[in-house]
């Protein structure tokens, strides 16, 4: 924090006003409306509204479909995070080793980050199309009958791959930066002590990377829970039998397609609570790290 400050009564408010105005109009107002709506029942056109108390919430948590959606979200989030982190770490270690050609590889590996999730979804949907896709064809050559229209596991694999694909680039960059900040002297010293590359990785590299890894885990969680909406929308639409129906897709589907406004609003509020929790965790962590 700054020791000294400008003294001015009006200026700070003017400076912060645009940001606050947008926050209030486009975030607080709608969020407030969602909270109100979660205690109401309303027809699609908004002609009849009645208060129902906590009924929307109790219905939600007694609905096996919602519970399934919670479980699916947990599995999906962990799978995307794990896949994106492991692949990215592997690539980062390789780049770190291939010093000379490292930057060239980096260029070839970072650009998927720039591809819109909606486009990513359409691309993988096309690749995995059961009748015309190339991947099911290749899988059938090794005897696996791919069918994400019926097999929930196949569908989950599809959305995890498609969601992790652009995120690998992101994680990769952070791991490369993290690896570069590890002093070479530490590893050299370990090497002189006779520690092999595997041992060095687990005793030195991994622990020193742990702040980066923790930070990335939170970011990937948020990404997988919320930003993957276009991927699901462009591919499985939550199916088959709800096996890829993550929470954020369900909110959209129940509210915007099914027009079940009360339930959708209650789901929004649940998500709101999750987001706030994740933000606080991330913020606390980031704040602490910055002060080192």
């Amino acid at each position: 924090m700054k020791r000294t400050h400008f003294r001015n009564k009006i200026l700070p408010y003017l400076l912060i006003a645009p940001q606050l105005a947008i926050t209030i109009v486009f975030f607080l107002w709608p969020a407030g409306e969602a909270v109100l709506q979660s205690f109401q029942q309303e027809d699609a056109f908004g002609l009849k509204t009645s208060w129902v108390g906590l009924a929307n919430y109790s219905d939600l948590f007694s609905d096996p479909v919602y519970i399934q959606s919670l479980e699916v979200t947990v599995v999906f989030t962990i799978a995307v995070t794990a896949a994106a982190l492991i692949v990215a770490l592997l690539l980062a270690l390789a780049v770190d080793r291939a010093v000379k050609s490292g930057p060239a590889y980096t260029t070839l590996l970072v650009w998927p980050y720039a591809v819109a999730p909606a486009v990513v979804g359409v691309l993988w949907w096309f690749l995995f199309n059961p009748t015309i896709g190339i991947l099911p064809y290749l899988l059938s050559l090794v005897g696996y009958h791919w069918n994400h229209a019926l097999n929930g596991t196949d569908a989950m694999i599809l959305v995890v791959i498609a969601s992790a694909w652009p995120q690998v680039s992101y994680n990769f960059l952070f791991f490369v930066a993290g690896l570069q900040s590890i002093p070479a002297s530490m590893r050299e010293a370990a090497a002189i002590d006779g520690a092999g590359p595997v041992k060095r990785f687990f005793t030195i590299t991994l622990p020193l990377l742990s702040p980066t890894t923790f930070f990335l885990t939170v970011v990937n969680f948020v990404y997988a829970m919320f930003a993957t909406f276009p991927v699901i929308h462009a591919t499985t639409k939550g199916g088959p039998a709800g096996s890829t129906d993550i929470l954020v897709f369900k909110v959209y589907n129940d509210g915007f397609i099914g027009l079940n406004l009360g339930s959708s609003a209650a789901q929004s509020v649940v998500l709101l609570v999750i987001v706030i929790a994740l933000t606080v965790i991330q913020f606390r962590f980031v704040e602490r790290r910055v002060q080192y």
């Binding site: 027809d43 699609a44 199916g239 088959p240 397609i257 079940n260």
Partner: protein
């Protein structure tokens, strides 16, 4: 400032093709692809035919997206004059008494020529209230039919002019086709919910729900699980899928089904009569296509009854001024004229909605020249519709359709029996329907 930008943008869009004095009629629709092009042409013809109104048609995405967009716009008081809503949205639209302007009333209020009797009853019955008033204007209605690969039938030693009539024949033919190597699978289908469930019940004259399939009131409930024929059929589909006779094409419309038929993998294919144009384009030069009615089970009394329609109708939304409604009525009148209807239905494969349009097609010799194009209309008019085969009308039915897909997938993956799956459709679906009833009381 923002408002003026909006207004000027709209004015700019409007002024591109019209003189200042015309009244603009907005129409949101869900017709993509070739159908969208044809629709644009119809609108352009109308705009040229008179100089008072300018219809602006906008494609708003899939059926559910179009409907939701219109409802969201209504809540924000930015609704279009006309919106195209698919048949399962009928319950929702109908219950929204303050939001819609019933077509029969619109026609009466504006003094537009309108004879409900000139419409095909099997089509408009779906959209008529219990007092016999037409609430929305049918535009594109279709019904499922059977398409089959004549070359594969020939190769398997079957008569290529004899499509299977019953499910037993479908299975026999499939087995012969598969064992002779003429195709890899017997049949596939689009729209499991619409074709293999709702239409199955109507075709076998079995109730889908209580109170005349929901026509009688908001407190009607689904009874799929009590329909023994349907339970047997779903169980068979699961069994046939294991045997490879049937291949599943995915949820909702079943996007993976058409390529299976086009590529010759599956010899038979059940889908909307409106898919005919697409089927012809995509199989051209590969094999000859035959057409048949939907199969039925011989041992079910009353089968075959008649099929029910799908597709969409045009709803007029409230909250606009009188001058606009006059234009809307005039445009709807134009749309249902025999000439426009015959042209649209012959191009698209949708059913003609008036007797006059059907007769015009007949006198033009269209149905003779285009074999299979009248299978759909024969199916829906096979018998006088009963309480079980008029159609269905439930609230929140868009989501009920999702549940049907959901439970069907659970059945196919072996985690449920047919009875369990259909019972779950009823219980989960009825929860939603009850919610709808509560919200619209």
């Amino acid at each position: 400032m923002i408002r003026t930008t909006l207004v000027s943008a709209m004015a700019l869009a409007a002024s591109m093709s019209m003189a200042q004095a015309k009244t603009t009629i907005t129409w949101w629709h869900a017709m993509g692809g070739e159908l969208g092009q044809k629709l644009d042409q119809i609108v352009a013809d109308y705009n040229k035919s008179q100089d008072q109104y300018e219809v602006v048609a906008t494609y708003k995405g899939s059926y559910p997206e179009t409907m939701t967009a219109a409802i969201a716009a209504f809540r924000a008081k930015k609704q279009p004059d006309i919106v195209q809503v698919f048949e399962v949205g009928t319950g929702t639209m109908m219950a929204a008494k303050g939001a819609i302007y019933p077509v029969y009333k619109l026609m009466k209020d504006t003094g537009t020529e309108f004879d409900p009797k000139s419409y095909l009853q099997a089509v408009v019955g779906y959209y008529t209230d219990t007092d016999g008033n037409m609430l929305s204007m049918p535009f594109n209605s279709s019904t499922p039919i059977l398409y089959y690969n004549k070359d594969a039938f020939k190769k398997a030693g079957l008569d290529p002019d004899q499509p299977p009539k019953t499910w037993a024949e479908v299975v026999d033919d499939s087995k012969k086709i598969m064992s002779s190597g003429a195709a890899k699978c017997g049949f596939t289908t689009g729209w499991v919910s619409w074709v293999q469930t709702e239409n199955f019940s109507a075709w076998h004259n079995q109730p889908i729900g209580t109170m005349e399939n929901g026509f009688g009131g908001l407190d009607a409930r689904l009874v799929f699980g009590k329909d023994e024929a349907l339970v047997k059929h779903w169980a068979n589909l699961a069994k046939w899928q294991k045997d490879g006779i049937f291949k599943y094409g995915g949820p909702v419309g079943g996007n993976d089904a058409p390529p299976m038929f086009y590529s010759g993998d599956c010899a038979m294919y059940m889908n909307s009569s409106a898919s005919r144009a697409g089927v012809l384009i995509n199989t051209k030069g590969k094999f000859e296509v035959g057409y048949g009615m939907l199969p039925y089970y011989k041992d079910v009394k009353g089968a075959p009854q008649n099929t029910i329609i799908g597709g969409a109708t045009l709803w007029v939304l409230g909250g606009h001024d009188k001058a606009e409604y006059k234009g809307v009525a005039d445009f709807l009148h134009y749309l249902s004229s025999a000439k426009v209807q015959a042209d649209w239905s012959q191009f698209s494969g949708y059913l003609p909605i008036t007797q006059a349009a059907y007769d015009l097609g007949k006198s033009q010799g269209f149905y003779e020249k285009n074999p299979g194009s009248d299978v759909g209309i024969k199916e829906i008019t096979l018998n006088t519709p009963t309480a079980n085969s008029k159609g269905l009308r439930f609230g929140n039915y868009v989501q009920v359709r999702d549940i049907i897909d959901d439970e069907f997938q659970k059945l196919l993956s072996g985690s449920e029996t047919a009875q369990q799956a259909l019972d779950n459709v009823d219980s989960r679906g009825n929860d939603l329907i009850a919610k709808f009833e509560q919200a619209n009381k």
